[in-house]
């Protein structure tokens, strides 16, 4: 048993914590030089949980059946009070999506109005799993397609990814280690404990990587929120240069990680629009700083509107305003990098075309995927619109799917991040050769 030698390495491990950061910086810089344009590209995937109602997010107010099917929850036509914000002759955006609409007018936001995963069970959990695992069924695949796309782009650590929120979403789980972050936190109370724990977790496959990644991300959060000077590769090198006994290097790094709020943390969501905008801006900070994250996954919940969904105002409008503010903060915060960015926002399924008996909608099939970013090609709606004619509704109740969601993701991964078709067909979206990447988006 080598217990004591192990513990006596505590000081050295504190230094190694800093060393890990250094290696990461150097590593990614080396790749950046090689990879050129692709290394600047950024992708944000937003998963809206609960079944976002596409017919409210991008109401087809020009569809002759829309108002009758929707009744009290229909969004009013263009130009009316609380009416849809016009995209083209048929489609608008929900009136709460004003910032997104401004982007659309510049050709930096588009909709794919009839997208669905291969799942047809109308179960949230199964459909979310399929949306995130990239397979055709909920079971048997326990990693996410976004994580496998990172694998396809090169060795571990080459493309860095982060999820926003306190738990790790399936879409980004898998062999490639991804960071996770939520507002608040701060590991500044005791500079010793992280080093001791890093030692104890050395052979722990779960806690070891999680702690290392968490500490690293805390340091980046300070930079992203402007609460600390930017960590440059030179600074990170300095940390290991001070490897005095007792772990000065580790202490210096923890200084950079000093958090603002300690344990008094608040949930990310439901905090109002300024916080949503700030959350978007902070994520942008993670992505634009030196050694920043190229890929991010964000979950937003609260879209399961079975009752009292509302129209221009109400439950769903409040949620969409939150989404709009987040997107606004993200686009604004990315600045010039917005031109290299694609954001895809999708949901596990849409909702019934008809309003139900309780002023809401039930689990449906196709919904709208929202695409944003300065890297988008200009153009109209992505994919075909099946219309809401009664004989076109899926099972006489839902918007019919005209596009496989995997095809949309594949198009973005191929044309934006340069992921090879073979990898897309086999490893990223298993057994999906029959689903072609959607062209003309990026």
């Amino acid at each position: 048993m080598t217990v004591l030698p192990n513990l006596s390495r505590r000081g050295a491990l504190l230094g190694a914590l800093g060393l890990g950061v250094t290696i990461e910086f150097l590593g990614s810089r080396a790749y950046a030089a090689v990879d050129g344009a692709i290394a600047r590209k950024k992708l944000v995937v937003i998963v809206c949980r609960g079944g976002l109602d596409g017919l409210s997010l991008s109401p087809p107010v020009g569809d002759p059946n829309y108002q009758a099917l929707r009744g009290a929850i229909a969004i009013a036509p263009f130009g009316d009070a609380g009416g849809a914000l016009k995209l083209d002759g048929a489609f608008g955006l929900h009136p709460a999506m004003s910032a997104t609409h401004a982007l659309a007018q510049k050709g930096e936001a588009r909709i794919a109005p009839a997208v669905a995963t291969p799942d047809r069970a109308r179960s949230h959990f199964e459909a979310q799993d399929v949306l995130e695992n990239g397979a055709t069924a909920a079971y048997g695949v326990d990693s996410g397609w976004l994580n496998r796309a990172l694998s396809a782009m090169g060795p571990a650590g080459r493309v860095k990814a982060i999820s926003v929120g306190p738990t790790a979403p399936l879409i980004l789980r898998g062999p490639i280690e991804a960071a996770s972050w939520s507002p608040g936190g701060g590991a500044d109370r005791d500079h010793r404990l992280p080093g001791i724990l890093a030692d104890l977790y050395a052979h722990d496959p779960l806690l070891g990587p999680a702690l290392a990644s968490g500490l690293n991300t805390e340091a980046m959060a300070k930079v992203a929120t402007g609460e600390a000077a930017a960590l440059t590769p030179a600074d990170a090198g300095g940390l290991t240069g001070e490897g005095a006994p007792g772990g000065t290097g580790g202490a210096a790094m923890m200084e950079a990680q000093a958090g603002s709020g300690g344990a008094a943390l608040r949930p990310v969501l439901r905090q109002g629009l300024p916080q949503a905008r700030k959350l978007g801006a902070t994520l942008a900070g993670f992505m634009t700083q030196a050694n920043g994250k190229q890929v991010a996954a964000v979950s937003i919940d609260g879209f399961d509107t079975h009752a009292n969904q509302g129209a221009a105002q109400g439950q769903l409008a409040t949620r969409l305003a939150y989404v709009d503010a987040f997107l606004d903060g993200l686009a604004d915060g990315l600045g010039p990098a917005w031109g290299d960015t694609v954001v895809v926002m999708a949901t596990e399924f849409g909702r019934t075309a008809r309003v139900n008996g309780t002023g809401g909608t039930d689990h449906g099939t196709a919904s709208t995927a929202l695409l944003l970013g300065g890297a988008l090609k200009k153009g109209g709606i992505v994919g075909d619109w099946p219309t809401l004619a009664q004989n076109r509704l899926f099972e006489d109740r839902d918007t019919a799917p005209t596009m496989d969601m995997r095809g949309l993701f594949k198009g973005v991964l191929r044309d934006h991040l340069g992921v090879e078709r073979a990898a897309l067909d086999r490893s990223v979206f298993p057994d999906s050769a029959a689903v072609a990447p959607v062209a003309g988006v990026v």
Partner: protein
Amino acid sequence: MAIDLDLKAAIAATRFGLGARTGEIRQARSDPQGYLTAQIRPEGADQPQADAPGSAERFGEFREYQEQRKQARADGDPKSDPVKMAARMLRDDTGVDYLARMQLAARTNAAFRERWALFWANHFTVSATKFVTATLVGPFEQEAIRPHVFGRFEDMLVASSSHPAMLLYLDQAQSVGPDTMAARFLARGRKTAGINENLAREIMELHTVGVDAGYAQADVTEFAKAMTGWSIGGLKEADDRRGRFVFRVAAHEPGARTIMGKRYAEDGQGQALAVMADLAASPHTARHLATKLARHFVADDPPPSLVARLQRNYLETGGHLGALARTLVTSPEAWDPPARKFKTPYEFMVSSWRAADSIPSEIASIAPVLNSMGQKPFSAPSPKGWPEEAQVWCAPDAVIKRMVWAEAFAAKALGDRDPNAVAAAALGARLSPLVGTAIAMAETRPEGLSILLMSPEFQRR
């Protein structure tokens, strides 16, 4: 292979229980299995609150608050002090409920019984994501879950499905059969009314047979029709109806229904009860519950032999949960020494209090911490409840939040006790030499306790 009694005692207290309090592992040592089976009792789980207002009273208070708010809006002052105060009082009730539950968990001598109850409360999740249900989650657990946890599953299913909290959470209360007097009446008032299939779907998918049981949309719709009429008495109704389950004949869709191939004759309220009886007795339900239990108590990827044994026992006993609990704790697979379950934030905090022989005293300082670790009180993200998988809870950010809280807690909770003794009492034979030595070398007592709480073996069970 015989596992020595010291290790079995540690497993009894940490895996089946909620973490050891001082002396608990010693107490369990003579007969670890018997220590657990002695906690099974027909009257059900413990009640966190002896004299809390029930759901009918809470529902009434909530509706009165809504009336006040409506009146204040009409008067042009929607944010008047009395209205805000009423909202705060309702929220405070929820905090009191949650704190009481955590205090029970922190101090109970029958922690297996409490973990068993928490499992079923999560199985029949009512989440506080709507204001009206927030005030009812505590009463729901007390009234619909805890009395039934060692009884028949079917009874708990019916109690849950007819409880006002569930009827509101999954939108059943307002579901109206389209071909009914109630629908015609509402139509005359130009109000729309119709079926809401939310509860019917989740009973099938989450509470009983499971999503892979082979049912179709039509089965869900038929069951939703059978359930029309299951509702809640309104504010203006008589005392014995107000805020309680009522069956509204006038909203019940007439006629026979066919669900999963079986025909159910029209029988008013009894029609849905007959469906529930069949759902509870289904082998799919036995499989679904057995898998969930094994996953909760043993491993995210549970041993198939354990699942099969639990399933068989469920079917043999007609879904008797006391027998099922006994089967679980007497199954050898459940005592496999490696700790495979990563604690949820709630379990982590409760076991920390138990290790320190303290109990939580104020909700205001607890709720934000649970939020930050991803487990906001009473607010499971969906009707599926809180997830089980280690990967969900062991995200990098969440580990940092656990570390920050552990340090703050250790600074306050330990007093002048020796962290080495606390570690030995909390983990017994599960304490590894590596962690034991690290605690022995800690610079301060709180640092020693922080190391214990954040150690790989304390984070798991």
